[in-house]
């Protein structure tokens, strides 16, 4: 009886593995397409007539694109900086202070990250127009700050909760005032969370199109610029820049994985063993 059970389990196992593999192929096939097209001199993949770097060269000769790239980097760095300050302050507030309705407060802060970008885009657009603020880098930056701050706050508050209050108590007990406690004990212990959150926020900001498209004037970020390129059909340059973004994202994720992985190890060793 048990061998029959094992056989049927194995059978279902392989069926599942096939299905899983199909889903995997479905997930990665489109990206491979983009990659291939970026090196193909013609529009179609049929008849792969050799590889070319022509499209990549054209990228570097497009001043609008290069400018958009640097704009995106700038917005990313500024947004991450601002989000880190506000998000970390928010994380400390939410983990250290108790008040009724705290759950609602946290939910409100998470809204820009959870809601569809169109809602955040239009609310901010109306907001800026009402204050007569022109659409520019500033408005795009504010848009990016709106969805990166909750990210930072979530990551940092998770780490603070995992850390627990004991280290702070120990520091104060041993003579450190609140400022010294923050600087010598708390901050080093959340450092990896900050870096991880920063990388994550930068990645999200780099790719952001939905809100940015609402808040853009003539000053464009890369996704907005690419989107503009797409409206006139898909020139192969689009594939080239897409591949570059693909590779950049992969690099950023590997960095992030290293940071979140390592930090998990370090602070898992909180429980004293026998």
């Amino acid at each position: 009886m048990s061998s029959k059970r094992r056989a049927s389990a194995r059978g279902r196992g392989t069926g599942l593995k096939i299905y899983g593999t199909l889903v995997f192929i479905f997930l990665y096939f489109p990206m491979v397409i983009v990659l291939l097209f970026s090196f193909s001199p013609t529009r179609t993949i049929v008849g792969l007539s050799g590889l070319t770097l022509k499209w990549y060269q054209e990228l570097f000769q497009d001043p609008g694109l290069l400018a958009a790239f640097w704009h995106t980097v700038m917005v990313g760095l500024c947004a991450v900086a601002i989000a880190t300050v506000f998000g970390t302050a928010g994380a400390f507030f939410v983990t250290r202070v108790e008040f009724p309705g705290k759950g609602v407060f946290r939910a409100l802060v998470m809204l820009p990250f959870l809601l569809p970008g169109i809602i955040m885009g239009l609310t901010l657009l109306i907001f800026f127009r009402n204050l007569n603020v022109r659409l520019s880098m500033f408005t795009i930056l504010m848009g990016h700050v709106s969805f990166t701050t909750p990210l930072v706050m979530f990551q940092v508050s998770s780490r603070l909760l995992r850390m627990g209050p004991t280290y702070r108590w120990a520091a104060m007990d041993l003579g450190a005032n609140p400022v010294q406690t923050f600087w010598h004990v708390t901050l080093p212990m959340i450092r990896t969370a900050l870096i991880g959150a920063g990388l994550l926020a930068f990645t999200v900001s780099f790719d952001e199109i939905v809100i940015s498209y609402f808040l853009t004037g003539t000053w464009m970020t890369l996704p907005v610029y690419i989107y503009g390129m797409m409206r006139f059909g898909l020139s192969p340059k689009v594939y080239a820049i897409s591949t570059i973004i693909l590779i950049l994202s992969l690099v950023l994720i590997t960095f992030m994985a290293r940071y979140t992985g390592r930090s998990a190890e370090t602070y898992r060793a909180r429980k004293p063993d026998g």
Binding site: L174, G175, Q180, A269
Partner: protein, 371 residues
């Protein structure tokens, strides 16, 4: 003189909204004393310790440190240090940096601090571990580093919050000796929180036994064991029999009670009137079985259960509706005894402790229903 005492608690009360965690706790802890706070979880012992450390502020009352009022002084300005239950060693610092931390907060340079750090490492037998990280240490090692870190600044008192709780049995017993030796060698005041009564009894000069925020008794281990002031203390320490009795004749020095129709004599001052309902208590190891020695109280009973425990036997006996347990050393046990036999139980009159029947609800019970 208050200044001779290491710590004074004067009517200290701590309320969290409507919950009273500690109620009017008053005690004078002497310099160099090993003082324990003992009780079940939720009794307020840790809250009391945190108030002494400065991590909680008392709702009412005062806390004096070497005569000076520190009730509102924050923790980082009080000259007491704490060893926490999970040690709280800073994971991003080496052992040496951890120990140096309190001296660094006192603005002492690393070079000036080195000899003190070395000395305290030697004290806990952890020399050579200076460059390790806490994650690389075992539980017992972390515990010793936590101890070293709290001692290096030479505080007026050391507070320990169940420091041995996470260690397994043999290690715990070994560490108890280490802690006691260190305390005696340095002569520093220890305030020790635990729920383990044998731990408190072995190590302490005095113990405060607490329940629900109240200190039931503050006395030496000997006093607490032989003259518990409440039924709770009697039940929390050691192994105690509790049976119902009625006061027959109380002349202030001796008290005769009726237990299931038999007479029991207690040779101590009992504050109950004739006819009052009482709780009669005898330590299980003081109950002798079929002993030839002449002793004031002798009652026959029926053996209902025999449990062999290695070093001793626990014999449960019935007298009417009451149950008495006797613990007899294995070497003195009569191997011929069987369940159902009638035996004669005997004990001294000094060993009988009497409480009012109302205190029965405070008694710690070990039964399936209690769980």
């Amino acid at each position: 003189m208050k200044a001779d005492n290491a710590i004074d608690l004067v009517n200290v009360t701590k309320k969290f909204d409507e919950v009273t965690a500690v109620s009017e706790f008053t005690v004078a802890i002497k310099k160099g004393e090993f003082f324990s706070l003992l009780g079940p979880s939720g009794c307020g012992k840790t809250t009391t310790l945190r108030m002494i450390a400065g991590l909680e502020v008392p709702t009412e009352g005062q806390i004096l440190l070497e005569g000076g009022d520190v009730s509102s002084t924050p923790a980082y300005r009080r000259n007491v240090n704490t060893v926490f239950q999970d040690y709280a060693l800073f994971p991003h610092m080496t052992v040496r940096k951890n120990i140096y931390f309190p001296l660094k907060m006192k603005k002492i340079s690393l070079s000036a601090a080195q000899p003190r750090v070395k000395r305290v490492l030697r004290l806990v037998n952890m020399e050579g571990f200076g460059n390790r990280l806490p994650q690389q240490l075992s539980g017992g090692q972390r515990q010793r580093i936590a101890l070293a870190r709290s001692l290096v600044a030479e505080p007026a008192a050391l507070l320990l919050d169940e420091p041995l709780g996470a260690l397994d049995f043999k290690l715990r017993v070994a560490m108890q000796k280490v802690l006691k030796d260190i305390q005696r060698n340095i002569g520093i005041t220890f305030i020790y929180v635990t729920h383990d009564q044998s731990e408190a009894m072995t190590m302490s000069d005095r113990i405060a036994v607490m329940k629900d925020g109240l200190a039931h008794q503050i006395a030496t281990p000997d006093e607490i064991y032989n003259n518990p002031s409440t039924a709770f203390v009697a039940s929390f320490i050691g192994d105690m029999n509790f049976v119902h009795g009625t006061v027959l004749d109380n002349d202030g020095k001796t008290c005769v009670l009726d237990v299931e129709g038999k007479k029991v004599t207690a040779k101590r001052a009992v504050d109950l009137n004739n006819g009052a309902a009482a709780l009669v208590c005898i330590r299980t190891e003081r109950v002798q079985v079929n002993s030839p020695r002449s002793v004031e109280n002798r009652i026959s009973a029926e053996l209902s259960r025999i449990v062999y425990r290695g070093t001793d036997y626990e014999a449960t006996c019935r007298i009417g509706r009451a149950e008495l347990r006797a613990v007899v050393q294995a070497v003195a046990w009569d191997a011929a005894l069987r369940v159902g036999d009638t035996v004669e139980l005997a004990w001294n009159a000094e060993d009988v402790i009497v409480f009012p029947r109302e205190e029965e609800k405070d008694v710690i019970k070990y039964s399936v229903e209690a769980v």
